[in-house]
Assembly symmetry: C2
């Protein structure tokens, strides 16, 4: 099924997502299925109506948008559909993309948070994004004011890739203050939405948008968030999707730290430095490698930070004879979980190999 109009029609069916379809069920044939069959998919009456009687004006608007430069649809089942997003329970059938659709399949970290952060929180988001994007992770966020914008900007400053997922049609610029930023994001990575053109940025769209932010990414970092912040929804969705959740703590006197503290209490990883994120992602990307080989290769490249002093100490302690974690703990004085994390990073980096019996040995060459 390669008919853009068919996909555009599907994009305009409320509540329809790939999770409603059985494996192998061709979404292109949905419009010609019986009312009973569509009801059995859980589609409400309004959705069935939208499927059978598409809105010609809406479709024409979508097609006009699509004719513009660097615009395309990324569709369910296509080779360029981002694999991590495909793994969530309710993947969009269609993504409207402006920019480089290939960026959607890069290893990404989502950075989200308050629309009204403290100046230090904004700086922190920008610094983390700069550092992480500089090391090769794409930074995904929602183009909102505050932390979102700082995340995109940090990635751009590093010359890295960044992806903005919108809760409105891509022809609706929201927020207006970020119009120029949206242009830069499209040039660096991609602007993405599952909402057809003309869709207004209504409050109820944002949780759906947030599942795409968390679903594209291997993990979500919350920088500053009040207890009512929508970024806590993104974090919850990330957790439900089996992705890592990271949160940056703050002073107990800073109300913008409350949401992060709640997340940490609920099991989010407390993050002080960008390297803390790499330490966790080492294990996570390692797990993902099983399913998606191409992505794992990227992940290996991404998660190899320049060797800092602790890693050098660990490699020195390892020497060139196999040793277990307990031995390395005794030799270095580092905690066992620190040693384990560092070994994973070093393994991904090609500097260490694991042997049977839980022993690790050094490799003479990195990759």
């Amino acid at each position: 099924m390669n008919d853009a109009r068919t996909w555009l029609t599907l994009a305009r069916v409320p509540g329809l997502h790939a999770g409603r379809l059985a494996v192998g069920h061709d979404p292109g044939g949905l419009a010609s299925e019986s009312r009973a069959a569509l009801s059995a998919l859980g589609l409400p009456e309004a959705a069935i109506a939208a499927l059978r009687n598409p809105d010609p004006e809406g479709l024409a608007r979508d097609e006009r948008w699509l004719a513009g430069p660097n615009r395309r649809l990324v569709t369910w089942g296509a080779a360029d559909y981002p694999p991590l997003l495909a793994a969530i329970a309710d993947p969009p059938l269609v993504l409207f993309v402006e920019g480089d659709a290939g960026a959607l399949s890069l290893p990404q970290l989502a950075i989200v948070g308050s629309r009204n952060p403290t100046p230090l929180g904004r700086d922190t988001a920008e610094q983390f994004a700069r550092h992480l994007a500089g090391a090769g992770l794409a930074i995904t966020s929602g183009l909102a004011l505050g932390i979102d914008g700082a995340g995109h900007r940090g990635a751009l400053q590093a010359g890295g890739r960044t992806i903005a997922v919108l809760g409105c049609g891509l022809d609706v610029v929201y927020p207006r203050e970020h119009e120029a930023l949206a242009r830069e994001v499209a040039a660096s990575g991609a602007l993405v939405s599952e909402m057809p053109t003309g869709t207004a940025p209504l409050r109820q769209h944002f949780p759906r948008r947030n599942r795409i932010i968390s679903g594209l990414a291997v993990g979500t970092l919350v920088v500053e968030a009040a207890l009512q912040s929508g970024s806590l929804i993104t974090a919850r969705l990330a957790g439900e999707q089996g992705r890592e959740v990271f949160a940056i703590p703050g002073s107990i006197h800073n109300p913008m730290a409350r949401g992060c503290h709640r997340l940490i209490r609920q099991g989010a990883k407390l993050v002080e430095t960008a390297d803390d994120i790499f330490a966790e992602l080492g294990a996570l990307l390692d797990g993902l490698r099983v399913g998606t080989r191409a992505e794992a290769t990227d992940a290996q490249e991404v998660s190899a930070p320049a060797l800092d002093k602790d890693y050098e100490i660990l490699l020195d302690a390892l020497g060139f004879a196999p040793a277990g974690i307990d031995t390395l703990v005794a030799r270095t004085g580092f905690a066992a979980d620190e040693v384990a994390s560092m070994l994973l990073i070093l393994e991904l980096d090609g500097r260490v190999a694991q042997q049977p019996g839980g022993l690790f040995c050094r490799r003479l060459t990195g990759k």
Copy 2:
């Protein structure tokens, strides 16, 4: 065995603690036991020598100190030996006490942290101590500069009880800057040491001192601590002793928050308000009630904060028919673990009773 000189002799035996004695083994007879029997207890040569040939000058100095006002020994096996301290692996045989020895058996929270806190960290320690001591918990610390002193001061400001455990003899005032504070602590609660008089505040004494701070308390709160801080040792000991560890997060740009962040990563409870501590201690004091009835009564009094709005919402949701946690979650919108914590507090407070099948019901009268 009521002979003070015998106990003072035991206090001067390096490495001797109650953990070396079998249940029912009378420490008063140790001096007359054979060298082989003493070796079998794991006592090194120097300890055996100190036991058989006590230092007369040291004992005389101890006795002179003991003759002063409000001074006494609290000894292993005596009715006033603090029960929580008795439960650790290596309880002191003898405690030198100036002040109210009975204070040692009160429910206590240890507050420890950096000797060089930020001004805000110092304020935070003082505020938490004031709030917790005002609600009836005694505050235990080490009389050090910085967070320790702020903890003692906060308790004193609230008219509460505070206990200082020293790493030197009680006739050695350390640190000098806290001489006046030490007088106030002795008047409010107690100054305590297991070290005989004349013992200098050597660095190697502090881990031993710290096990008493954590061992007296139901939990240890770390307010600000660098990664090398001795208060992390106290926190580790608290964990090993099965006590709760609490840590206050801070900005990632504050080096004094690093130690707390490490503790949180390792499983310490992240604390934003004093009520967070009561919420956790509810369960903990409930557990302790099994073993120590008198203390549990105090604990009930302590852990009953004035009802805030959330508790009122929960009680309203509970009504007067038994309901389970899931039902209460659905009625209130609170998280399940919040509801569980609040129910424990309300149970301790006599406002709620648990019934078979995990159901809770409201009681018509508080205690």
